[in-house]
Amino acid sequence: MIATLLSLGFFAAVVRITVPYALAALGGTLSERSGVINIALEGLLLFGAFSSTIGAWFGHGPVAGVLGGVLGGAALGALYALLVVTLKGDQIVCGVALNLFADGITRFLLKATFDSSSNSPRIDAWGHIGTTLILVTVALVALFHVVLYWTPFGLRLRAVGEHPEAAASLGVHPARIRWAALVLAGAVAGLGGAWLAADQRQFVAGMSNGRGYIALAAMIFGKWRPAWAAAACLLFGLAEALQIVLQASGVGVPAWAVQMLPYVLTMITLAGFIGRAQAPRALGKSD
């Protein structure tokens, strides 16, 4: 079993599970640091998976697929921004509705496009995009860290998330920053969706399957910091892969216990039992 854990296959399994979590968690981090709660990560992943499938199918290639995922996610992110930033709708209500919307519209379009209520046809045009996407994910984690902490945009974004009035008095436009944050969050989560579709070489109805919520949990467990959120995703991915190996070798770690882990850890973190989990101060306030 030790040999299994040290094998390349196990490493690959961990990475495969981690990538979509990490991309969605990055999106979540960006949007929440700008002060907007994003429980729509699940919907963004799912919609990205569908729009990337459309891209890969009609564009006959992985590049069109990735582009489709990113643009689709960004479009849904823009819809979310329109609702909660411009129209000042309640962020939680709109987030829940956006998840419902993504689930409904992808199933609707799946039937309308591919005449199936469960999945798209197999798409071989995806090719071997996986390795590239893994590298892109790693680069994005680093990039998000740099942008958030070392650039004027990142400073403004964090300022808007902590104290929008103070930021506005210094000439920063909170609404513009939040629009940018939400569209970017959508794009990166949409890329996570593209990974799901590319990995399975097809779209399956509801294929995000709760991953957006795990990403949300990882974001909080990582205390709203991109690199730590990604590390939390890696931890959750490791636990999942480990559980699969242990189950195969007959060691009794029940699957449900591992499935619960991210959520239980998040609740413990939020309750302040592991250091202090300080959310951005203006989180969830629409003005």
């Binding site: 689930d103 199933r107 609707f108 709760g210 619960m260 959520y263 239980v264 309750a271």
Partner: protein
């Protein structure tokens, strides 16, 4: 005047949703008018359709009230899905072991078990909010998934062999179908739990209008600081509000378990808990509003099946989402309005 203002957002939401639906129907080459006619005929057009609408409305009244009660107390309960799962499971468990009891004991006992289960799950989030300041939205979401994992791992052990449902409940714990009194509803699954849902709505209305507990919940919802200054124990009220909210969600099992299938089935809910949020928002967190909103979404839910031959039934989920978008955007300060204040003009 007040009523007019209350009706405006739902009306506007309805128009936007109709426009979005028409666009989608046209996009797939259908005729909107024909689809709406089908939808009306398949729901309110015959006895069976009406019965099915009532059957789908029943749990939505309960989850809508659950979310509404929490909203009045300034709390967002996104965990109705997990709470109703645990509640329905316990209802089925007690119901299955109630063979020796008469219906007047067996049915209330099964319902109390469901309410207790829902209350327990919600109270975890309530306690963490009250004493640790942990955000109840995140915690109720996390609890939904913890419940899901637990049901897969532990709940499934009580399922029948090779099945995804529990043993059937005793005959004495079963609720009668409405069609046994009204033969026009023949074949539909509508059952006596509709009366339970309406009774809970009346109870909630009475609670907020007439009781000290209801007053305290509203006070904490409007301003925890002011409530605390007035001598109200904010943490205790928050814990109690969440528990009450969860208890109401926990009653959902009455409809499916006691009144329809007579067992708990994996995935029976199909997102009723999440639609409850839509019901509460459209119904402005008022009991009467919730009942009417539940009827709207109950009609849509049944209507989806009626139009499925012409347009994919998922159009209903899109419609539901668009209605929430429109209502939420029409009420910039939904939360403030929900707890009883009009927005600044």
């Amino acid at each position: 005047m007040k009523l007019g203002r209350a009706l405006l957002p739902p009306l506007w939401a309805f128009l936007i949703a109709m426009a979005a639906a028409s666009a989608l129907i046209l996009a797939v080459g259908g005729s909107p008018l024909a689809v709406y006619r089908l939808l009306a005929a398949g729901t309110w057009g015959n006895g069976y359709g009406i019965g099915q609408v009532l059957f789908k409305t029943t749990p939505l009244i309960l989850t809508g009230l659950s979310v509404a009660v929490a909203l009045r107390g300034g709390l967002f309960n996104i965990g109705a899905e997990g709470q109703l799962t645990v509640g329905a499971f316990l209802t089925a468990f007690v119901g299955a072991h109630a063979a020796s009891l008469p219906p007047v004991v067996a049915i209330p006992l099964a319902l109390v078990a469901g309410a207790a289960g829902g209350a327990f799950v919600a109270a975890i989030a309530g306690a963490l909010k009250a004493w640790r300041g942990a955000h109840e939205v995140i915690n109720t979401i996390m609890l939904n998934f913890i419940v899901r994992a637990l049901m897969v791992g532990l709940g499934a052990r009580l399922f029948e062999r090779e099945q995804i449902h529990t043993a059937p409940i005793a005959l004495s714990a079963r609720l009668p179908r409405l069609s046994s009194w009204l033969s026009a509803l023949h074949g539909s699954a509508a059952n006596a739990s509709l009366f339970l849902a309406v009774a809970v709505a009346l109870f909630v209305a009475w609670l907020f209008a007439r009781t000290r507990i209801g007053f305290r919940i509203r006070a904490v919802g409007l301003s925890p600081a002011a409530a605390a200054a007035a001598g109200i124990s904010v943490p205790r009220v928050q814990l109690g509000t969440m528990a009450l909210s969860g208890a109401i969600a926990g009653l959902v099992g009455a409809n499916f378990v006691l009144g329809y299938k007579y067992y708990y089935e994996d995935g029976f809910s199909g997102g009723i808990g999440y639609i409850g949020i839509a019901v509460a928002v459209l119904g402005r967190a008022r009991p009467l509003g919730v009942v009417l909103a539940a009827l709207v979404f109950g009609t849509l839910s049944q209507g989806g099946l009626a139009v499925n031959a012409v347009v994919p039934k998922e159009i209903v989920d899109v419609l539901t989402a668009v209605i929430i978008f429109a209502v939420a955007a029409a009420q910039p300060t939904v939360r403030r309005m929900l707890v009883g204040k009009e927005p600044a003009q």
